[in-house]
Every structure is written in structure tokens, then in C-alpha cells.
């Protein structure tokens, strides 16, 4: 298959890659937080994103609310869900072998998807609020994607600011560096864990809410997001929060680049091959692993 690549096509790839990369970074930051603080890989991360998407869909279709204004509401709702999950189930496996936390969150994940299938049906749902695109120098800039990009940047930026400057954010980072020392310093580690899980679920929900404006949603949309978020973390280096940003942008670019040459049917294959290659060549991630 020969493809003639024009400068416009390259520009299109870069723009689209950056636009979707910001979303990847935002969602993956949530998974990275839980992994960093609790050493738990939350398989239910994608299904939590799916729930966030449905909050936006129902608020939009029932009340006609501007879908972009529902983003904070979806995040708040899933923050509560996340805190409850941590409080009732996940805290029991934080110190258990990895097998337990993987299986537990996997069980939660298939239960959440099934609940969504029963409550919301498996129909594809779409929020058709803004459509169309701007044309910038021969490159098409999709309107909903661009606005979602701005929101994702804002939320991710706010999350970093929170982690960097506030006392609670510092407490989260301290717990992620060493739980024992954090305890000795008087940090309520159990509370930090709940907060982290809530925050991570909110980030996933924000991603889902923005996604609902861009693509059609359905209960099984989440699985691939758990996988891609993990890939973003691996690309950036596990436990390295700024790395998630780089990893997200990189995944977005690679996927868009691949779509130039392959059908979109194979986009998941591309992400998978990327994961296997990174694990083979540089398993500590591009920016290096956990800083201690």
C-alpha cells in the first residue's frame, strides 16, 4: 500500500495526535496516581470512565445542559463513587499480594460494566452538541475535539497544581514516596488513599465526560481505556507523574500516525505492539521509572 504523504497530512496527524493525547494523559494520570500511592493497578479505571460518560449523556439528554458544563458534575459524582469503592472494597487489598488487587478490581470492573448494560442498555449513545470543524491552514480542527482538549489540559493542569502546591497534594506525593515515613510524619494514610482513589476516579470520569461529546458511548467502552492508560504510564515511566503527560501525547501521535498507513480497525493492535515493544526495549519508561 503506497500512501502519498503531504505536509498537510503531517500537520493533521500532529494536531489530531496532540488533541487525543491530552485526553489520554488526563485519564492515565488517574491510574498513575492510584498505582503510585497504593501500588494497585485499578482494572476498573476504564469502567469508571464509562460511568462518567453516562453522567454527561444523561444530564445532557434529560436537562439539556451544556455538556461541557457537566464535566465537573461527572467528576464530582465519580469522586464519590471512587471514595466509596476504596472505603468498602479496595482498602482491604492495598497491602495484599498483587494478585488480590488485580482480581478484585477486575471483578469490580465486570460488575460495573454489567450494571451499566442493564441500566443504560448496550445501545450506542451520542451527545450531539457541537459538530463540524474549523479549517486552519489546510488542516481540519474538529470543534468538539478542540474544546475537549482545552478542558483536558485545564483539568490536568489543575491536578498537577493541586499535587504540587497544596498540603493535601504534598501528602499524596509523600505517601506515594514512602507510606511508612508519611505515617510517621502524621499523615492519615487511609484518608489519603480514599482521596487518591476519588481523585483518580474523577480524572477518569472527566475523560469519559469529554469523550461523550466526541464519540458515541456504550457500556463496554471502558476496557480499552484501562489498557491505554496503562500503556501511557509505561511509556512515561511508572510512578512518574509528569511522564504520564508525555506518554499520553506520544500515544496520541503514534496512533494518528498509524492511521495514515493502516485502517482504524487495527488501531488497538498498534497500541498493543507499542506496549510490547516498550516492555522489550525500555521497561522503565522513556523518562525513567519511579523517583525515590
Amino acid at each position: 500500500m503506497s500512501v502519498v504523504v503531504t505536509p498537510e497530512m503531517i500537520g493533521q496527524v500532529v494536531i489530531s495526535g496532540i488533541l487525543s493525547g491530552a485526553l489520554y494523559a488526563m485519564v492515565a494520570l488517574g491510574l498513575a496516581l492510584i498505582f503510585g500511592v497504593m501500588r494497585v493497578i485499578n482494572i476498573a479505571h476504564g469502567p469508571l470512565l464509562m460511568l462518567g460518560a453516562y453522567v454527561t449523556f444523561f444530564l445532557y439528554s434529560r436537562t439539556g445542559m451544556n455538556p461541557f458544563l457537566t464535566v465537573p458534575l461527572a467528576m464530582a459524582a465519580l469522586f464519590v463513587v471512587g471514595v466509596l469503592l476504596q472505603r468498602t472494597l479496595v482498602f482491604r487489598v492495598v497491602d495484599a499480594p498483587e494478585l488480590s488487587s488485580l482480581l478484585l478490581t477486575f471483578g469490580i470492573s465486570i460488575a460495573l460494566v454489567n450494571v451499566a448494560q442493564n441500566l443504560f442498555t448496550s445501545d450506542l449513545r451520542a451527545v450531539e452538541y457541537i459538530t463540524g470543524s474549523w479549517s486552519v491552514g489546510g488542516v481540519a480542527l474538529s470543534k468538539p475535539r478542540f474544546i475537549a482538549f482545552v478542558f483536558a489540559l485545564a483539568v490536568t493542569g489543575a491536578a498537577f497544581l493541586f499535587l504540587k502546591t497544596t498540603r493535601l497534594g504534598k501528602a499524596i506525593r509523600a505517601t506515594s514516596q514512602s507510606r511508612e515515613v508519611a505515617l510517621v510524619c502524621g499523615i492519615d494514610v487511609g484518608r489519603i488513599h480514599m482521596l487518591t482513589f476519588g481523585l483518580a476516579s474523577a480524572l477518569a470520569a472527566g475523560g469519559g465526560a469529554l469523550l461523550a461529546v466526541i464519540v458515541a458511548i456504550q457500556p463496554e467502552m471502558g476496557g480499552v481505556w484501562t489498557f491505554k492508560s496503562f500503556l501511557v504510564i509505561v511509556l512515561g515511566g511508572a510512578g512518574n507523574y509528569p511522564g504520564a503527560l508525555l506518554g499520553g501525547l506520544l500515544l496520541g501521535l503514534v496512533e494518528q500516525l498509524a492511521s495514515l498507513f493502516l485502517t482504524t480497525q487495527l488501531s488497538e493492535v498498534v497500541a498493543y505492539v507499542l506496549l510490547v515493544l516498550v516492555l522489550l526495549v525500555r521497561p522503565t519508561g522513556l523518562l525513567g521509572g519511579r523517583q525515590t
Binding site: L112, N114, F227, L266, L280
Partner: protein
Amino acid sequence: MRLSPAVVLPALAVVLAALVLYPFVGTGYGVRAMLQIFMWIALAGSWNLISGLTGYVSFGHVAFFGAGAYTGAILVASAGWSWPVAALAGGIAAALLALLIGYPCLRLKGPYFAIAMLGLNEVLRALVSYFEGLTGGGNGLSLPTLDATRAIYYVMGVLAVAVTAMTYAIITSRFGLRLMTIREDEIAAEAMGIDTFHHKLAAFLLSAVGPGIAGALTARDQGYIEPLSVFPLAITVTMIVMVLFGGKGTVWGPVLGAAALFVIQEIVWARYPYVHPLLFGAIIVAVVLLMPRGVLGLLQLKYRLPRTI
């Protein structure tokens, strides 16, 4: 009460003899149900090798089932192989796939393997749909008609026995002890001089062969496969639930779990198909939190059975 070999071995022989004679007296439905139970014992027992025994969770074991199904079906339909040979080829194809995934992912400790397996069945499904020329794509692949249910019953039965016997052989060997050491503490295992990477890889390859053969046999039995029917996440979920419910890391846990869950599924849950995954999710959560050693763990406690058999 202690179970001695003098009691267990004759009992096992009686059960096996009954299963051998069953197709001559059983109803069509009964034989088909037993065939399914054999398949689930083989699948659950295989998952148990890498996840129960070695502690590396495989969330995509159905990929080996599907890979075996497609390999077997293509060899039968296009190359005209006889189905028992094609089934063996399905097992080999699954092991090769396991080598491809296991080599990069098992060199590392931690969750990398679990996540890589999480995406594997989706990837294979996409690939199978894409290469239509070979696989028939979304239209599926039909095999020449052949009534071999009874023969497949015996072969699947042998597979179930073989996987269980292999588990017994591994658990009672030094190889099995090393795998369990990796599960309990991988760093300590390394410090004791165990080549953890090659042990994990060997366990993973062995765990892929059974599902590969089972997939090829199922494809032959059903006569038609399509991407959606041989790569569903539900098959992986069922394997996991069966092993956890029965008792992970043991010889009889997967057998017990497969038989018990299949029967419960047929009698009770067939009426509530819509909440099936919810129930399975709830069982996983409940077993992990409340009885991590499964039903067999409770029995072992009560009857003072050996902890790993």
C-alpha cells in the same frame, strides 16, 4: 478424617470408568454437558498453572482458546487435516503465541503481564477480522460437516485428565515448588538462585497448550467459528471464577470449580442471563476478600487434607 491413597485411587478409577461408559447410556444433552465440563476443567486447570500456581494473573487466556480454534479450523477447512492432528497444531500455535507475549512481559516483575494479557484477546479479534482471506473475517469460518461428538467427548476428556495430571505432576515436583516460591516472594526466589524468568515462561507456555487444544476441539465440534464466538472476555472470566471458587493453586480446585459452576450455571443462572457478569464479578470480589483459598480451602481445613492437592 484423612483421605488415604487406598481410598482415593479406587474412587478415581470408578469415576473415570463411569465417564468412559457414559456416552453409551447418556442422553444427547448429557453427553454434550459432560463435554462442556471437560472443556472447562481443561481451561480452568490451565489458567491455574500460570495464575494460581505462579501468581501471574492472565486476563486474556481466551486468546489461546481462540488462537487454537482458528488454527484448528483453518487447518481442517483449508488444508484438509484430520481434526485430532489439527487440535494438536492448535495447542502448538497457542504455545507459540504465549512465547511471543511471555518473552517481553514475563522478564519483568509486577503488573505488566496482567495488563498485556488484558488487551490480547481484543487484538487477536481485530487481527482475525482484518485478515479476511484466511479467516473469513466477520463472516466466520465453516468446517465440513462431521458428526464426531462422541470422539470429541473422549479427546476432550483425555485433555481434562491430562491437564489435571500435569498439574499434579508439577505441584509435587521441584519445578512446582519453584513456581510457588515465585508466587510467594519473587525476590526471595531469585536470591535462592531460581531462574524466575524461564520458570514463569515455562509455566505460561504449559498453560497455553490446553486452551489451544480445547479451542480447536470446540471449533470442530461446533462446525462454525467467528471472531465474536471464540474471543469473548466471558470465557476468561468464567475460567477465573471457576479456579477462584474451587481453590487456586491446587490440583482439585479447578476441577471442583469447573464442575460446580457449570452445574449451577445450567440449573439456576441460565434463567438470569442479563445479570450473569454481575454475579461473576460479585463472586470474584467475594472470594478474594472472604475466602481466598476457595471451597477446597474450606474442605482442606475441615478434613485436614494436604494444602496443595
